[in-house]
Symmetry: C2
Subunit: 453 residues, 2 copies
């Protein structure tokens, strides 16, 4: 079977990476890029010109003065993506939205609206909110524990999928001559009563071009991987080493298969941060400059984020890393525990942890265009990922990737030359979900009424 | 003092009116207009060409097979308006959102995002949801009672306004040379703990071009009028007769004044349905044709809506109108009670009520362009309204208004020739809200710290 081409996403102003702290300082980038719609339009159009599958918008709803600069003030993802929809034609529009602090009816409706407006290019990155402080903005004293976070997430997505099926594909004949707008036998109430949500339905919006917007999932814990295997068309994750990435993808595919899904329909797409120079040396020097530009003080503060913005400035830097795992329990627990474990295993001081995590980081994709293309292809061939979400915000650096790296990969048949489809699902090579009621109708004997609306 | 010009809104596919049931049948309108973004773009651009202040999108989140055709399947208002933002330059973008089934943090963020994206043209029509069945889509067995609905609405808007003030106007210096992105003393947590919501803040979005998006309010009960007088920049309402409209506007202004507000800053803008012909007779014939085209059966079903979609088909049509006021208690109570009262006062049968409410309705704005212009001006001069929200969906009929009625009003100085401002607030002649923290800072002695973030 011929494998898909490597899928490409462009993360706009998002998720970490070595240079995030100084993005706003870059002379090429307006200091207020995160609220400047023109800036986003230009980036999306560049990515589309390079035949990217999608732009990706990350999100949060909680800030402290130490939050990453572009997180302090930024546009809400779906409002942003809807504005991009009519400024682009082929590129997918993937927005992050949390199942912890939204109702399924509202989110199902908004993503389906985006899918209509973009003519089939909407995607939803399902998250549970990592920052524990988010709870305080939604009338809660505390963030949900992991079981509840992921329990809600699963039920939330299932309800949304049910709502997206409210209208069968041919439920709205809109026959002006016959005067028939609706076939009421093909409009269905969901009547969902679950652990976290009760939703009667139907959704007041017909089937959108993709039937269901593409579902991404981001969250690496046991619970998160289980959710991804269950509901995701694609997984947004990290990838530190080839071996880790291979293992992650294999595990996700196995989990999906164990749930009766075709693993080919679960794409693993980690975020990557290529650093490209004319030569490998130039690229490595670029990386060193980026890493060196982050102050220790800032790195120390940012270390607090996975631990619920724990304040690490109160500790002795040269004493053993403090045991603050509890602080991460309702935040980014997986990341907090990984940091704590490494510190314990290697007996690191707080200072060493800060250095390890933000100042001696090294991208697996650093080098000349040829080197970076080779590395991407090698990982791809080794089954480390189905696609990559590129986090490069500086336009000239992004251009190095599109103009120097992509042509090499295109020449080798690794990435596409032209869009295959006008929908995101089509470009990702994902099947279109069947309408549950139409499917039941097709399966049932003709004269037996199976549907209750 | 020179009065404002008459303000103009265009309601796209919305709220009742004599012809709504047959809009989808019109050969000029795509049968799926309510989900066709191109259709909305064209209508918004036409309204902008005619120097309208705003387009207005109504909303609901509950349908039955008997819902108005274009309500059965339609785009979510903010997703829709954001797509329009980059296709227009001057026209305001007002979307309906319910305080009953949204969280203030999410709505505040989405409207502020729209305000950034549109460069100052966002408006929020605050409603509490009229259809009692909406509750079932949001994990509730029952819709809130009126006290709760409007209590939540007031607190919700106050929280949103607080969140919009999170960043003082100069809180983000973003000085690349000095390396200063944020002035943390000018970023404020709201720390709201109220009856219905607890919201810590701050909002993760800086002050938008209008500081606060323009607030509309729609809901005519005692509670609704009180809310409007308290929080609204503009009121969306009905206007059946000149006297009613004058009384409503006077009352709203008095209520606003009693709350210490300048009544000049509360614009009353009812929805109106002009029916225009070459001659008065032609226009009246048009109206008769529209009214005559609605079947009694459909009118009988639609009568159920204010009463929580009560099923009136079970009653004897010629018996006295049934007492079903309870059914309207958590829906459109004001409208349900008005219908019930009229039926009692005039001893009407169910059949007569149906006829009165949908088949012998008469617009106060029917006639030749001159007649309609005269009527609008007369009402305006008599203080019946500050502006009007025109509900005319058929493009050729809308063109009759813009091309034949507006030039007369323009000639007389009643409506504008050119936009005065690039923001909706500016065009409506409304002041820009002051940031509460900056105001406190300005009022306080220089050396006394007054702010806690
Ligand atoms: C690659 C990646 C990207 C993420 N992006 C977001 C995001 O944009 N917004 C958000 O609220 N959470 C985001 N999350 C956080 C998850 O929603 C989750 O809350 C967090 O990772 C902790 O869960 P975990 O232990 O399952 O990873 C992301 C997580 C990962 C791994
Ligand atoms: C002119 C007008 C327009 C309205 N538009 C909407 C709307 O678009 N969506 C909605 O949910 N409710 C809408 N409402 C309903 C109100 O939110 C309210 O729930 C309803 O009118 C009952 O409240 P009341 O008795 O105070 O009028 C509208 C009300 C009026 C008077």
């Amino acid at each position: 079977m011929s494998r898909r081409t490597l899928k490409l996403g462009a993360v706009l102003l998002g998720v970490g990476g070595p240079g995030q702290h100084r993005t706003w300082l870059d002379p090429e980038i307006p200091a207020d890029a995160s609220v400047d719609i023109d800036w986003y339009v230009a980036r999306a159009q560049e990515a589309e010109a390079a035949k990217f599958d999608l732009v990706f918008i990350v999100d949060s709803q909680f800030i402290t003065p130490d939050s990453p600069h572009h997180y302090l003030s930024r546009l809400e993802p779906l409002t942003l993506l809807s504005a991009l929809a009519l400024q682009t034609r082929n590129i997918g529009l993937v927005g992050t939205a949390t199942t912890s602090y939204n109702s399924p009816f509202n989110l199902a409706r908004r993503f389906a609206s985006l899918d209509h407006i973009s003519r089939g290019r909407a995607g939803w990155n399902v998250v549970t909110s990592g920052d524990a402080g988010t709870a305080g903005n939604y009338s809660r004293d505390e963030h949900y524990d992991y079981a509840t976070r992921y329990g809600r997430a699963l039920e939330h997505v299932r309800v949304a999928q049910g709502l997206w099926d409210s209208y069968e594909p041919d439920a709205l004949p809109r026959d002006k001559e016959a005067g028939v707008f609706l076939d009421p036998t093909k409009l269905h109430a969901l009547d969902h009563r679950g652990e976290y949500f009760s939703v009667v339905g139907p959704l007041n919006l017909e089937r959108s071009p993709q039937a269901h917007p593409v579902i991404f999932q981001a969250g690496d814990s046991e619970e998160g991987r289980d959710l991804g295997a269950e509901i995701a068309d694609a997984i947004f994750t990290h990838a530190a080493t080839l071996e880790q990435a291979q293992a992650f993808r294999t595990e996700l595919r196995d989990r999906a298969a164990a749930k009766g899904r075709d693993p080919e329909n679960v794409l693993v797409m980690p975020g990557i941060f290529p650093i490209i120079g004319e030569t490998d040396e130039e690229a490595r020097a670029k990386q060193d400059a980026i890493l060196g530009s982050k102050s220790f003080e800032r790195a120390l503060k940012e270390l607090g984020r996975p631990f619920g913005w724990h304040d690490f400035t109160v500790y002795d830097l040269d004493a053993p890393f403090p045991d603050v795992r509890d602080a991460g329990e309702r935040s980014f627990r997986t990341q907090a525990n990984a940091i704590s474990k490494l510190a314990r295993d290697e007996n690191l001081s707080l200072r060493q942890v800060v250095e390890r995590f933000s100042q001696s980081w090294s991208s697996p994709f650093v080098g000349s265009p040829e080197t970076v293309a080779d590395a991407i292809q090698a990982w791809y061939d080794a089954g480390a990922f189905d696609g990559i979400n590129i986090s490069v915000n500086v336009p000239s650096e992004f251009a190095l990737f599109t103009d120097r790296v992509l042509p090499i990969l295109r020449e080798r048949g690794v990435v596409r030359r032209e869009y295959e489809s006008s929908t995101l699902r089509g470009n990702l090579g994902l099947p279109e979900p069947e309408n549950r009621y139409a499917a039941a109708r097709a399966a049932a004997p003709q004269d037996e009424p199976v549907l209750v609306s």
